[in-house]
């Protein structure tokens, strides 16, 4: 019986079989091609390597994780400028404190299971602090220059080590200057990283970068976070199962702190130049800084941990120690003191001892040659300490 098309059934049947077979063969070929392409993509992404700038904060953790999830091999890099907040205050003060004492960048690397290179850039960073091309923020924080500097360093690093692109945890609009959307292209350009700089947390709201255009990473799996709110990041952290991360954006650099910046400016003003050494910027994080005259400044420990820390500088500084009562150690920064200055320095230091209300407190002064001298002073009253002496 003929088929509806007029051809004999056997021919129609055979044609259908051939067609089905050809379709099946075509499906198989297509599947093979898809599988081969998927495998090639897998191989390519497995050989693609990225370096993530790990500050220790939540954003850099999430940014690196997003890229890791796409099969990219990620290694962490952290730059030590000397102005870091985390770790120092915990190490100096309150040894028995409950807050975890750890380097947060290492903690982030551990969560990700990645290597972390911590690079000392204290010397190179001086020019960023002293001569920022884009100026300072609210305090002595050169955030835009800092960002450019670090990404430039990362760019050098990937060139040296055969990596393919850079990841940061920046979020458009998160910070008042360095993460303003209009500055992001400037950072990419001036750092030299150009389109090798990927910001996974806000990439979808920025122009595509080379990793996206090359297909190394899938743009649709990146984020479009923006603004000051931390909620998107915290939600993503919960999704990844991250807990106990460092408190979010900001406050990780002493240069953003007004009190610290005032002390740093005082240091520069008093010396007449802006050069500094690592010990200088470390000591600004510790103690009460009191400058009774342009000739000298006192750095007075505020508690036992700071006394212990300042003790390590005894060989470099003139020092005052409270002998007759419990009290702080004070370092004296400046030229050798005359007797009047010495008595004033001792009276100020005694003010912060347990003998503050006593008629007389015995102090021990040690000069640059480590010759000691016992001095009895009446501690200054609080109202006798000129507010202009106190550098915050």
């Amino acid at each position: 019986m003929p088929a509806s098309n007029g051809l004999p059934t056997c021919i129609t049947t055979n044609s259908s079989s051939i067609s089905r077979k050809r379709i099946q063969q075509a499906d198989l070929s297509t599947s093979r091609v898809i599988a081969i392409l998927a495998f090639l993509k897998f191989v390519i992404t497995m050989t693609i390597k990225a370096v993530a700038l790990i500050s220790g904060g939540l954003d850099s953790l999430l940014a690196a994780k997003l890229i890791q999830q796409q099969g990219i091999e990620v290694v962490g890099i952290n730059f030590f400028t000397g102005f870091c907040v985390e770790g120092h205050t915990h190490a100096i003060r309150n040894r028995a404190g409950s807050r975890p004492k750890r380097n947060n960048a290492l903690w982030v690397a551990e969560q990700l299971g990645i290597k972390l290179h911590i690079i000392d850039v204290v010397e190179e960073y001086k020019n960023v602090v002293i001569n920022p091309r884009h100026g300072y923020g609210a305090n002595l924080n050169p955030c835009l220059d800092c960002k450019i500097f670090m990404i430039h360093k990362a760019h050098d690093w990937i060139a040296e080590h055969g990596f393919d692109f850079i990841i940061t945890g920046e979020v458009s609009g998160q910070r008042p200057k360095s993460q303003l959307r209009r500055f992001m292209p400037l950072v990419a350009a001036e750092s030299g990283a150009e389109d090798l700089l990927l910001r996974p947390l806000c990439a979808k709201s920025l122009a595509p970068t080379r990793p996206e255009l090359e297909g190394w990473v899938a743009r649709d799996k990146l984020k479009d976070f923006s603004g000051r709110s931390r909620k998107p990041q915290m939600a993503l952290a919960a999704e990844f199962g991250f807990e106990d991360y460092a408190q979010p954006a900001g406050g990780c650099c002493f240069l953003t702190d007004r009190s610290y910046s005032v002390k740093l400016q005082d240091l520069w003003d008093n010396r007449g130049h802006r050069q500094y050494e690592l010990d200088d910027i470390m000591l600004l994080k510790v103690g009460r800084h009191i400058r009774p005259s342009s000739d000298f400044k006192l750095i007075i420990a505020r508690e036992e941990g700071e006394t212990r820390y300042l003790s390590g500088y005894r060989r470099q500084f003139q020092t005052i120690k409270t002998i007759s009562h419990g009290g702080p150690l004070a370092l004296i920064e400046g030229a050798p003191l005359d007797q009047q200055q010495l008595e004033l320095a001792c009276a100020i230091t005694a003010r912060f001892s347990q003998g503050r209300d006593a008629e007389s407190v015995e102090m021990e002064f040690s000069d640059h040659q480590k010759t000691t001298q016992s001095i009895h002073v009446k501690p200054l009253r609080a109202d006798q300490i000129n507010p202009e002496w106190v550098i915050l």
Binding site: N78, N103, L106, W107, K115, L278, G312
Partner: protein, 109 residues
């Protein structure tokens, strides 16, 4: 047994980590690093910079006073493929004996 002092880039202004001593003796070389008074992440940086210059199998003993090193040193070692053989606390000092293990450097460092 003689000690060999290898000058390294000193920290600045009297910090105590100014040189490495290498004991040449039958117990195999142990490089001594003094990182007392150095705060995070300087002890890790000192250890990192030292170990990166040494061959596999080298042991480094680093003495620190920063309590954060109790987390930092072992974590850095774990992440970078090295081992902490021993951790000792003596008064205010934390002393770590670290072994540089052979591992494949994926990033060429």
């Amino acid at each position: 047994m003689s000690n060999r002092y290898v000058p390294i880039r000193s920290i600045r202004n009297g910090s105590s980590c100014e040189h490495i001593s290498v004991s040449n003796g039958p117990e195999n070389d142990i490089i001594e690093l003094d990182a007392r008074r150095l705060l995070c992440p300087m002890p890790v940086i000192r250890l990192q910079d030292c170990i990166n210059q040494q061959p596999t199998g080298t042991r480094v003993r680093i003495t620190c006073t920063d309590p954060g090193t109790l987390y930092d040193i072992p974590t850095w070692c774990r992440l970078n493929g090295h081992r902490v053989l021993a951790t000792t606390e003596q008064q205010d000092d934390y002393i770590f004996l670290v072994h540089k293990d052979a591992h494949k450097d994926a990033d060429g460092t």
